[in-house]
């Protein structure tokens, strides 16, 4: 094996950091976006054709660009924010831009699944639009929201490996530089193994949490 365990642990932390931070920012972008995509719809709380059309188009645009290309395309933007376009911190920027619109769609879907009758009841009892979103729509969609965010997190684990390949660090970086380019099968197996376990763990945790919220 061409690397020591210390390097693997460092790479693991880098991956966890990349995924966590980009997830945090992606949710911060995706949650409001997803909510807006729902409430600006026809017949909804803040019906607004223009806003909906613009948001919808922007989300679709980001969703249609492959991650590899997005990473390169946003380099100037990344430099502007992080100061560099290489490294773990720099990888967070394209990752959040990649995942945010995806999360927006997942959240939009979950919110649309909520029984319209619930909103009707909320309106009948004189809830404000804010209360309708925070006290009715989100709690009712929470279980499915969590599953969506689990899916997005796993997507980010995949993206982090790709980001690693172009200098982002993390397990992906290790797998490519040593496992792939230098034919070190052991490193390859270990890094891929860790990624597999991570994904399994995330999915199970998501499922358990979602179930717990849903009750029975």
């Amino acid at each position: 094996m061409l690397v020591d365990w210390q390097q693997i642990v460092t790479a693991l932390w880098e991956t966890i950091a990349m995924v966590s931070f980009s997830l945090l920012f992606a949710v911060l972008i995706g949650l409001p976006l997803g909510i807006l995509l729902v409430v600006t719809r026809k017949g909804h709380l803040w019906e607004n054709k223009q806003v909906f059309a613009v948001l919808n188009a922007v989300v679709n645009l980001f969703r249609s660009v492959p991650f590899i290309i997005l990473m390169v395309a946003v380099i100037p933007f990344t430099r502007l924010i992080v100061g560099t376009s290489i490294g773990t911190a720099a990888a967070v920027v394209p990752m959040m831009l990649f995942s945010g619109p995806y999360i927006a769609r997942l959240i939009e879907n979950s919110l649309l699944e909520v029984d319209p009758g619930v909103m009707e009841a909320a309106q009948a009892m004189g809830a404000t639009p804010r209360q309708i979103i925070l006290r009715f729509l989100i709690p009712e969609a929470l279980s499915s929201l969590l599953l969506g965010i689990t899916i997005a997190t796993i997507g980010l684990v995949g993206a982090s490996a790709m980001a690693g390949a172009v200098g982002g660090g993390g397990l992906g970086d290790l797998a490519i530089t040593y496992g792939y380019q230098r034919f070190d099968t052991v490193v390859m197996v270990i890094t891929v193994g860790i990624l597999v376990i991570m994904v399994q763990g995330l999915q199970s945790t998501g499922n358990i949490l979602s179930k717990k919220i849903r009750r029975r």
Partner: protein, 343 residues
């Protein structure tokens, strides 16, 4: 209490316009239980949703508690809605919240102090008979229990008006009865005005004081339940009344009569109130040379007033039968109608 004046509702689906309500006028007094009945698509839901402006009427005015709702600002309207409770066909409860939180929700929205919420919700759950279910989730309840939660929730803010859109349509007959009883009790104990939307005449007969019949967006008949049941004017009202009164000649009897000669005349005699017990028929049999044959009869009670329905056949000379009819028409007992049903 509730007044709708010239209310129209037109849905613009983009492809074509659908007139769901067409110049509807409705007046509901305080403390009344008012029923609106109609077939599917008649506009019943549109009507009740116009009362709390879940749907804004295209034209007309909606007054609840002396307040013209269409003139209120969004904030004033939200306040006004706290005075109008609503119960839904499919309950519309929050599945992610306990029974307690569901009932408490309207109070939580207006930031009621915790202690007060607890006291009020406990009281309400006791009233609807679900004290032991406070910590359960809606999907652990039966349909009837869910509706009780819905009703408790609608009463949380102590409204003076309760709107029920098909509140019992998703329930079996027995559960329907228990929910109707509960609504009646609410009306009695809290003097809450109730507007009930239904397609079942049984619901109207069971608890309503007044009824309006809605047909293709128009109120075609309205009055006290007693009036409409004893003397429905429109065909649609007659059909609804028939659906629960079972005052039709049984088919077997009808066929039997038809097979006989034309001289037989069949009439429907409706007795109301005190006159039900009046020995009208035996009197006729004694006074006139005709034979009286009772083919069918029943007595029901509508709002505490007995209501009788007889289908009789008179055998005899046409001249004599005419005299009998004159006699019936002139008798001072409350005779509502004499109809030639067949022959």
């Amino acid at each position: 209490m509730i007044t709708l004046e010239h209310v129209s509702k037109v849905y613009d689906t983009g492809i074509k316009e659908i007139t769901a309500l067409d110049d509807v006028n409705l007046h509901i007094e305080k403390g009344e239980i008012y029923g609106v009945i109609g077939f599917s698509g008649a506009g019943k839901s549109s009507l009740v949703r116009c009362v709390n402006l879940l749907e804004r009427p295209t034209a007309g005015s909606v007054t609840v508690n002396g307040q013209e709702l269409l003139h209120l600002s969004p904030r004033e309207l939200r306040e006004a809605k706290k005075n109008i409770g609503m119960v839904f066909q499919h309950f519309n409860l929050l599945n992610s919240k306990t029974v307690f939180t569901n009932v408490a929700m309207p109070l939580l929205l207006s930031k009621t102090p915790k202690e007060e919420v607890k006291q009020r919700v406990t009281e309400l759950l006791e009233f609807v008979g679900l004290s032991d279910k406070a910590d359960n989730y809606p999907d652990q309840l039966s349909g009837g229990q869910k509706q009780r939660v819905g009703i408790a929730r609608s009463l949380a803010t102590q409204p003076s008006v309760l709107l029920c859109d098909e509140a019992t349509s998703a329930l079996d007959p027995e559960t329907t009865n228990s929910i109707l009883k509960l609504l009646k009790q609410i009306n009695h104990e809290y003097n809450i005005t109730i507007l009930i939307i239904t397609h079942e005449m049984g619901v109207i007969r069971e608890i309503c004081d007044k009824v309006a019949v809605l047909d293709r967006g128009k109120v075609v008949e309205a009055g006290s339940v007693f009036e409409v049941f004893s003397d429905p004017k429109t065909t649609i009202a007659q059909n609804f009344v028939r659906s629960v009164m079972h005052d039709q000649l049984p088919d077997s009897v009808y066929q039997l009569i038809k097979a006989q000669d034309e001289a037989h005349q069949i009439y429907r005699i409706v007795f109301i109130g005190e006159s039900t017990g009046s020995p009208l028929l035996s009197q006729i049999a004694k006074q006139f040379p005709v034979e009286v044959n009772v083919l069918f009869g029943n007595i029901t009670e509508l709002q505490g007033i007995p209501f009788g329905n007889l289908i009789v056949k008179f055998d005899g000379e046409p001249k004599e039968i005419n005299r009998v009819l004159m006699h019936i028409r002139h008798s001072d007992i409350t005779l509502k109608e004499v109809l030639a049903d067949a022959g």
